[in-house]
Amino acid sequence: MNNSYLIELLKELQDIMCENRDYLIKLDSIVGDGDLGLTMSDGFTAAYKAVSASGETDAGKLLYNAGKAMSTAVPSTMGTLMASGLMQAGKVLKGKTELEKADIAALFEAYLEGVANRGKAKVGDKTFLDGLAPAVAALKSALQAGDELNVAAAAAREAAEAGFQHTTTMIAVHGRAATRGEASRALQDPGAAVAMLMMKAFEKSFLAK
């Protein structure tokens, strides 16, 4: 695999965020300010547009540039966090032109790290991390167990879905939702929904092939 796969993946991410624009708006309207559908569709569209025709062959640079484009387009909370994920993935994959299975695991691990470093949230804080962290764990263990990428991606998507559902047991401690305290518990976290959609797009990136 090379950068054409990454571009394909970014396209799937763009498409799923655009398709779920209203869904994310609805989720964010309940706990926050309702802009998440706009920022995620605009942000991933900007990321894809910035690199789809760039001819960039360095996987790291491609992801870093996609992240920068996203951060410029949507400097909101989740916009900047997703940009930080992409940029960190770019730093880790810098110099690669061919991608192994392990590189894909490394990509999502770095993405998670980039978001965690930027946002300084912990798993359990009812954020995006509670969707992505279990997905990355599932992805890694599936690949370690020798699964193919498409199988591992399905496992990751399932874990993200479960993680997202699990956010209704947590109290928000970051962002607007945090002002609700205990009342935030019963509500689904919109950022974790984005993690779930990311993993759906990741899974689809192999179906499409």
């Binding site: 951060s71 410029t72 387009a73 400097p75 909101s76 909370t77 900047t80 930080s84 300084k120």
Partner: protein, 336 residues
């Protein structure tokens, strides 16, 4: 939505264009992005100070760029953070080799973007950047426990941090010193606000919340964040007393302290009312034995056309007094 505007999408950029037209001697922008505002006046070898944040709070944030205060400011949409890329552009423009200090309010979006900009400045430009985050709204959260992160929102009190750090940089202190001063000011300031009416974000078109015709909300944030209590509107003196009780107990400010006081209108509250508030603050603090060194009264950090006001207290020592007294000249803050 009763606003004197053209298309809501053009609100921020048209406001900025007007600003450059009115103050060509003090401010300009870098590159071709009007949202990357920098001072015209440059002082070689001086530490650069940058801020940034959402629009809708004029004179905050950009209004304090000029001489003796800030050197640059990136501006986001109404109530939205500017991007790290924009912050980086400002950073590059205002660095003259002595490094850059970021001073901004304690909001997730701003923190994430300023952190990212600082990394980029270091990584891509080898500019040393330090950051001081102002979070002094006593209504927004309890004080940070030892070693814990401060979760209080940054509001009007940030003006004092700008003023002190700006004067320090203007006196050619180095980045560590300017940062120390900014941190000291940030640690010594406390604010609380009260809101009477909501405001309307132009692109949204409807009020962010509703509030009864005879009600006020004590402790509301400058984006309409929930305060600590909503109740019947009370006489000015009673409102001031309730706010000061919370503020004074917080650091605490004690008898013998000297303070600077900022009375800040949120947008639609007449100056008359702000002075009625000032009058009560003065007698309240006198009673507590707290001496007021200097008053600032007016609109310093607004929420569009929200009615209400905030009170900020800055505890002073000799160093801070000297910095507060230093001259400054920006589009919205002139002191001789």
């Amino acid at each position: 939505m009763k606003k004197i505007i053209n298309r809501p999408e053009d609100y921020v950029n048209e406001m900025l264009e007007g600003l450059y037209i009115a103050h060509p001697d003090l401010i300009t922008y870098t590159g071709d992005d009007v949202r990357c505002l920098v001072a015209v006046n440059k002082k070689a070898g001086k530490v650069g100070i940058a801020t940034g944040g959402g629009s809708g709070h004029l004179p905050l944030f950009l209004g304090y760029v000029g001489k003796g205060m800030l050197d640059g400011c990136s501006v986001g949409d109404v109530f939205q953070s500017p991007s790290a890329e924009q912050m980086l552009a400002v950073t590059k423009e205002i660095d003259s080799g002595a490094g850059v200090l970021y001073i901004y309010g304690n909001y997730n979006g701003d923190i994430f973007n300023f952190d990212m900009a600082a990394e980029m400045a270091d990584f891509e430009e080898s500019i040393r950047v330090e950051s001081v985050v102002a979070g002094e709204d006593v209504a927004s959260a309890g004080p940070a426990a030892d070693g814990e992160k401060n979760t209080r929102r940054g509001v009007a009190g940030i003006i004092f941090v700008y003023k002190c750090a700006g004067a320090a940089a203007d006196a050619m202190m180095d980045l560590d010193e300017v940062k120390r001063v900014a941190e000291k000011a940030a640690a010594n300031v406390r604010t609380m606000g009260v809101a009477l009416t909501p405001c309307i974000v132009p692109r949204v078109g409807t009020p962010g919340f509703t509030i009864g015709a005879d009600k006020m909300e004590i402790g509301m944030g400058i984006h309409g964040e929930t305060g600590i209590r909503r109740g019947k509107l009370e006489p000015a003196d009673q409102i001031v007393d309730e706010m000061l009780e919370k503020i004074v107990a917080d650091i605490p400010y004690v008898s013998g302290d000297e303070v600077a006081v900022l009375v800040n209108g949120l947008g639609a509250t007449p100056l008359d009312e702000q002075y009625i508030v000032t009058r009560r603050i003065d007698s309240y603090l006198k009673e507590k034995g707290i001496k007021v060194y200097r008053y600032y009264v007016g609109e310093y950090a607004t929420s569009l056309e929200m009615a209400g006001f905030s009170i900020s207290l800055l505890k002073l020592d000799d160093e801070l007094k000297g910095l507060i007294d230093a001259p400054a000249q920006t589009p919205f803050f002139v002191q001789l």
